[in-house]
Symmetry: C2
Subunit: 275 residues, 2 copies
């Protein structure tokens, strides 16, 4: 999927919601445990219940890998089940030397057929460019939503680059945005730092930002939107736990439907004032 | 396995060699393609041929994931086949927020039963500490062996930290070494920067360093050893492609045996002068 196709989908559905499929087998409603593949069955019902309100799905690889090869089978079934027209993100945060990065790209693009993969910047350009392929996006971590973002990205350190002082996350944005344009790269920008989304937008005016941290982690949709929207919307805001576990009972899918709808309606108001 | 048990194994076998199992299905000798699981069969023969000469095995996750769930089955068979007494490393370079890092730890420690996992530092402390568990090691990327290490780890940037100027990889070592002691953490230090191994050793005198980049990537064992050895050896030097693909024919295992033995004999000379 291209950036402009994603923009069209966002306008059509009046939503820039990404549903994070962080499906924890230990948190599934008990009645699903009788199914052959409880994780896939949960995801299938979540996808059915939320597809009206979102434009993207983002399985978190860790949750599938933790069950071994069988967990990856659930992932494969899930990705195959996501209807065409949705932007799919492998939230894998990979980052390794060139020949290994190529194998990871093969994994997520050729085997599972995702549209994009989240990648870590620490190992530099040759660890990221194998994920830039026609119609695919490398989504580079810039500023993450966790407490650990204080350690290096935002921490006590500051970087002097060509006479300018900046923090590591700004430096990563500045350098990595030279590796690919807005049709090739996106960046992760955590909603738990809404005051910095505007700074990020200044460095990368055109790129889409994948924004985790709304909901369970405490970020605000209004603040992120005020700072982060650009001329093609430029935001994919993720919600995982708040939607998946809106109810822990047999009504989990209806509860997920209501929660996704609630977020979509907030997004519609935000979009209608701009597009 | 504890650090002192690893030290004892290194002395007993006169080797600090780690064999990297970056097994690419596209590079297997053709006669193996008739087996049910060619990747496992290749690894089984490599393990049989090299176990006399090494103390650790390091499967590179990308190479298994790229074949989907079946590839993970080959990984599982491989890890189960490695005899006890070897230190096992999941070369996965994971790094994510706390609840996701816990799922990855569950994957590699509880499911596959590895002794250690390589982890990326960009997301900070809460992305690393879930990998610190009794008898297990988080192996944190500090200075990697690829060209991209110039971009952030060593690049044009320099960090001012408490009045001291240092590069990002030094800062990562200084901060991350506060998250766990030498019985809990190791660091990746690429052999392609041998002049910096001594600097790394000054910052983390006691921790083991996992050293990739010997062989195919051009690093020198003598230089790395001169700068990196400590009182418990403190080095695991990895070789992957040079051993796995020493021959592309039916004699691949014999060729791997000779190459592993060649490296072990160099290591024996280095160790005998010190231990």
């Amino acid at each position: 999927m291209t950036r402009l196709q994603l923009f069209e989908e966002i306008k059509r559905k009046k939503s820039f919601l990404c549903v994070g499929l962080d499906t924890d087998i230990k948190r599934l409603p008990p009645h699903l445990m009788r199914c052959d593949d409880p994780v896939f069955e949960f995801n299938r019902q979540i996808i059915d219940a939320t597809q009206e309100f979102c434009v993207a799905y983002k399985p978190n690889l860790a949750f599938y890998e933790s069950s071994g090869p069988g967990g990856l089978q659930s992932l494969e079934s899930t990705v195959r089940y996501i209807p065409s027209g949705f932007f799919t993100i492998a939230d894998a945060k990979r980052g390794d030397i060139g020949n290994t990065a190529e194998m990871y790209a093969r994994t997520f693009y050729d085997y599972y057929r995702f549209d994009s993969v989240t990648v870590a910047p620490y190992m530099g350009k040759d660890s990221v460019v194998p994920f830039i392929q026609p119609g695919k996006f490398a989504i580079v971590l810039a500023l993450t939503s966790n407490a650990g973002s204080m350690d290096f990205q935002l921490g006590e350190l500051s970087v002097t680059f060509q006479g300018r002082r900046e923090r590591l996350f700004e430096h990563v944005l500045r350098i990595a945005s030279g590796w690919g344009n807005a049709d090739e790269l996106m960046f992760v920008a955590g909603a738990t730092h809404p005051e910095l989304i505007g700074k990020i937008r200044n460095i990368v005016p055109d790129h889409f930002l994948l924004v985790p941290g709304i909901g369970a982690q405490g970020g605000s949709l209004d603040e992120v939107s005020a700072q982060g929207l650009n001329s093609t919307v430029g935001l994919l805001v993720n919600s995982s736990r708040n939607i998946l576990y809106a109810s822990s009972g047999e009504d989990f899918a209806e509860a997920a439907h209501r929660e996704a709808q609630r977020i979509q309606m907030e997004m519609q108001i935000i979009l209608e004032s701009r597009f």
